[in-house]
Subunit: 219 residues, 2 copies
């Protein structure tokens, strides 16, 4: 039992989907990511937030650091903190994720669990990321072409995920792909995009990536 | 009955507040804005989204352009489209508004009512803003100092409100003030910040502003 299979460490990977329409292309993206991870032998924690009726409203009770969380939020926190990878799938709404996913971030990536602050020695504070995930992936759809999103606004989703969320929480490898414009895309284009999703997930969670990753070994 | 009073045109101004804690400084900011507007003789449409139990989750049914909206959303749409001014008060969550306010934007600022797209003559599309508001104001609190928010992230809230939301919806005058760091602020500092709120609201909705504004006259 020595060989390549020993390198195929089972990882827990969270896939979080946020789109109101169950027949959306976002659902196809998420399904592709989930199936690719499962084929690689990983354990997937999948959540279709809209289908699950996730409540994105952060409550006053949750403001306290030691708050007793509702069970469904506590479960999300445990998964998010322990996942080896986090994959988010969502449409671009106003150059940010839909509210239901914003609320997932608000409620689940809690101070003291996903990040903390420590003195920076110069009278300020610096963030220390606490998530275990080494890879964060974002697949988003949009109708604004990528070059216009960059030209007009500076690509706020890139800033949001790469710098603000994954940056603060200490996720070192961030992969984001913006599929746009989705509204005028052909079936062939969408098929090609799903192949891109599969390839990207394989590249970051497949045996080759695990062989490269520090701390992932037959031991 | 000719004189200064005739210049005091009654305006409808929306004030939208999003903070989970009813005792928050955000509530004091919103109260100051509402009272200042009322003292100026305006009609205020005030919503404490959290207290009202606003549901920020955009539904599949609402994706259709001609969707029949839930009554509370339809009312928000009418107010937002007809207000002469829009004022938002919220804390900085992950360099964007809290989910409950993101969802207000998702559900209320609908295509065909708040903005529309038209061909730009070069094969693309350009946005046409449809809101009546001539002034958009944002008062947000944060714990990250303003200079760090700019240095690290490029001040995403500024981009979000000025360019993405008010820009797309055609609100020409945008005023934003970031009160930070709020966590270490003294009562004196907070009092001074509330004076700033009052002064800014007076400057943009008071008689002097109305005298400057085109289309606002005794006729």
């Amino acid at each position: 039992m020595v060989g390549a299979t020993l390198w195929r460490k089972v990882m827990n990977v969270s896939v979080i989907l946020a789109h109101p329409n169950p027949g959306s292309f976002n659902h196809a993206i998420a399904r592709t990511a989930v199936e690719t991870l499962q084929r690689l032998g990983h354990e997937v924690w999948f959540h279709d937030l809209q289908a699950e009726g996730f409540d994105p409203v952060y409550t006053a009770a949750e403001l306290a650091r030691e708050a007793v969380l509702p069970p469904e939020i506590a479960r999300h926190v445990e998964e998010a903190c322990n996942a080896a990878g986090l994959i988010f799938v969502h449409p671009n709404y106003w150059s940010r994720p839909p509210a239901i996913l914003c609320g997932w971030v608000d409620r689940v990536l809690r101070p003291g669990r996903a990040y903390r602050f420590e003195p920076d020695g110069r009278g300020g504070a610096r963030a220390v990321g606490l998530l275990r995930a080494r890879v964060g992936m974002v697949f988003n759809t949009a109708n604004t072409p990528q070059e216009k999103e960059e030209e007009w606004y500076g690509d706020p989703l890139e800033v949001h995920w790469r710098k603000v969320v994954f940056g603060l929480c200490g996720v070192p490898v961030v992969v984001r792909r913006n599929f746009s414009p989705v509204i005028t895309s052909t079936p062939e284009q969408r098929c090609a995009w799903l192949v891109e999703v599969r390839t990207a997930v394989e590249a970051h969670f497949g045996p080759a990536a695990q062989a490269r990753a520090p701390g992932v070994s037959p031991a």
